[in-house]
């Protein structure tokens, strides 16, 4: 087993709403929901979800992600992965629900599901119309409804309200979600109440990405190796889900 970053050429970056799409010159054998550790020498290394076999969706929120988002064609980025367990496609009709950059692995899933002939419905949420991401790739896979905190696009309010309505209107075989953890806990609770299976992609701070350092702990589950995709019911058994996580020091910190 070797888990060492390989330098891969950047094919280009483009803006899509609130995220930057980083395209690489090589494809990886990635499943939707899997991630890779991206390394910029001297700047750091962080986990990012695959958007396709050769793309990542980057929310430029800090120094490192801004550096990634401003890479140019011909630059290099270190990649180790794909890591983790991805989504499992179940049933004939699925509902995707993403908050913020959580839409990235879902857009990858939408494409794979559509190719399998599965009916895909998406709910995408963001703070404002400007920060809504990946609307057109999602729309090419099925119907998309949007929610924004300020009402500047789609419905005003949380994606979880839209989820409740969607589950009343139609029957779905499985719900897939990714986004802020508080939202994910609500999604899991709503799905459990409605008895709809749901798969949730979790985000935690990671260091090794290899299942040994314990940084991404979720009450004994390791998000990097056991996840990042978990069954909603499994997560609801974990007291820290949506409530607390480990800071880089290992200190338990409220979400």
């Amino acid at each position: 087993m070797i888990d060492f970053p390989r330098m891969v050429k950047v094919a280009g970056t483009k803006k899509d709403g609130g995220i930057a799409v980083l395209s690489l010159a090589e494809r990886f054998p990635a499943q939707p929901g899997q991630f890779a550790m991206l390394w910029l020498p001297g700047k750091g290394e962080k986990p990012y979800s695959f958007l396709s076999e050769n793309e990542f969706g980057i929310a430029p929120v800090g120094e490192f992600s801004n550096a990634l988002a401003s890479l140019k064609k011909g630059d290099s980025v270190g990649v180790r992965g794909p890591y983790g367990k991805g989504f499992v496609i179940k049933g004939r009709r699925i509902l995707l629900i993403g908050g913020g950059c959580g839409i990235v692995p879902l857009a990858f899933l939408a494409k794979e599901a559509k190719e399998k002939g599965i009916s895909v419905t998406s709910i995408a949420g963001a703070k404002t119309a400007k920060s809504l991401s990946l609307r057109s790739p999602l729309a090419s896979c099925g119907s998309v409804s949007c929610c924004t905190d300020d009402g500047s696009a789609g419905r005003k309010g949380f994606v979880t309200n839209a989820l409740q309505d969607a589950l009343l209107l139609k029957k779905y075989d499985c719900v897939y979600a990714c986004g802020p953890e508080k939202m994910l806990r609500l999604v899991a609770e709503i799905c459990a109440k409605k008895n709809v299976p749901c798969q949730i992609s979790m985000e935690r701070m990671m260091k090794c990405g290899l299942g040994i350092c314990g940084q991404c702990d979720l009450d004994g589950l390791l998000v990097c190796r056991d996840g990042p995709v978990f069954e909603g019911r499994e997560l609801l058994k974990k007291p820290s889900f949506g409530r607390s996580r480990l800071a880089p020091s290992g200190k338990v910190t409220a979400i």
Binding site: F4, M7, L210, G214, Q215, G220
Partner: protein
């Protein structure tokens, strides 16, 4: 009688495998997972005198024959861990508490607090290669290591004290002997081997700390040699650590002189159930080779 059972500093271990410090040991639930995975005992990640975030990523990679890490001793600090200590009472297997400091006084402060929580053992990390001011700087010189042991023994009460040694010194045997003379109840050997890896396309060291600690299968012969030499030099029990991933590795470590066997990188190679797998492989080997008890393996390779 359980043929795999061993006794280590007064603790009964259901088998000789011990979760090594630094792997999965940040929270109670992670230690519990190692217990569920079959560990005979578990060691916490090293607990420090104050909150410390550790080094920036990349902090860990896996090379062809082993792992290289420079986590840099992240710790919430001993005073922020009361919840974890409360939960640790639910553990069925013994819990060893690893501690570190940047001064002898730090070690005293952390050890005094930790001793009150009554772990099965306190392990002094005088061997981490991944920060400038902690760890192995206390483990290079016999007299320095001995002063840490003496100080901690003043405050540790009935909790036995073990010292985890670095192989990054030609004096490891002398350090072990000095620790024994200073009152140490056990030796843990070895911590990681100082190493480095460069990404040649990036023309940069891969770890942000540049250098790191090398672990996994590649360092097993180094660990076997250290344990073998220390066994000849001291009377206190040895927790043998370094590259153990299979039952055969664990038996080799015990024949070199270890009473119990630490597993760290093995969690990467075989998952959190590595402890139970190793124990079962030991049992099969012992059965096939007519060995009735794991205890009889200890030091068996010595003349």
């Amino acid at each position: 009688m359980n043929p795999l059972g061993v006794s280590f500093c007064g603790s009964r271990l259901r088998n000789p495998t011990v979760l090594a410090s630094g792997i999965l040991g940040i929270t109670f639930n992670q230690l519990k997972r190692a217990e569920d995975g079959g560990a005979g005992a578990v060691t916490t990640k090293s607990i420090g005198p104050e909150e410390r975030v550790g080094n920036r990523n990349p902090t860990c990679v896996a090379l062809q024959h082993g792992m290289l890490n420079a986590m840099g001793l992240p710790s919430p600090g001993y005073e922020a861990m009361d919840d974890e200590w409360r939960q640790l009472k639910k553990m069925k297997v013994p819990v060893f508490a690893s501690i570190y400091g940047a001064s002898v006084e730090d070690f005293r402060r952390v050890a005094a607090y930790v001793a009150e929580k009554k772990p099965a053992l306190i392990e002094l990390n005088v061997s981490c290669p991944n920060t400038a001011e902690h760890g192995q700087v206390f483990g290079f010189e016999p007299s320095v290591a001995a002063s840490v042991v003496e100080t901690v023994k003043e405050v540790s009460g009935r909790v036995p004290v073990s010292v985890k040694l670095t192989p990054n010194t030609y004096k490891i045997v002398a350090v072990a002997r000095a620790c024994e003379e200073a009152g140490a109840d056990a030796i843990c050997a070895i911590n990681t081997v100082a190493g480095m890896a460069i990404n040649i396309e990036a023309r940069k060291p891969v770890l942000s700390f540049k250098k790191g600690g090398y672990s996994g299968p590649a360092i097993k012969p180094i660990a076997i040699r250290c344990v073998y030499d220390i066994y000849e030099a001291v009377k206190i029990p040895i927790l043998g650590v370094g590259g153990v991933t299979t039952g055969r590795d664990a038996i080799e470590m015990m024949q070199a002189g270890a009473t119990a066997v630490g597993i760290g990188s093995g969690v990467y190679y075989r998952g959190p159930n590595v402890f139970g797998l190793v124990a079962e492989e030991m049992r099969c080997w012992m059965h096939a080779n007519g060995v009735a008890s794991a205890k009889s393996l200890i030091g068996a390779a010595h003349d």
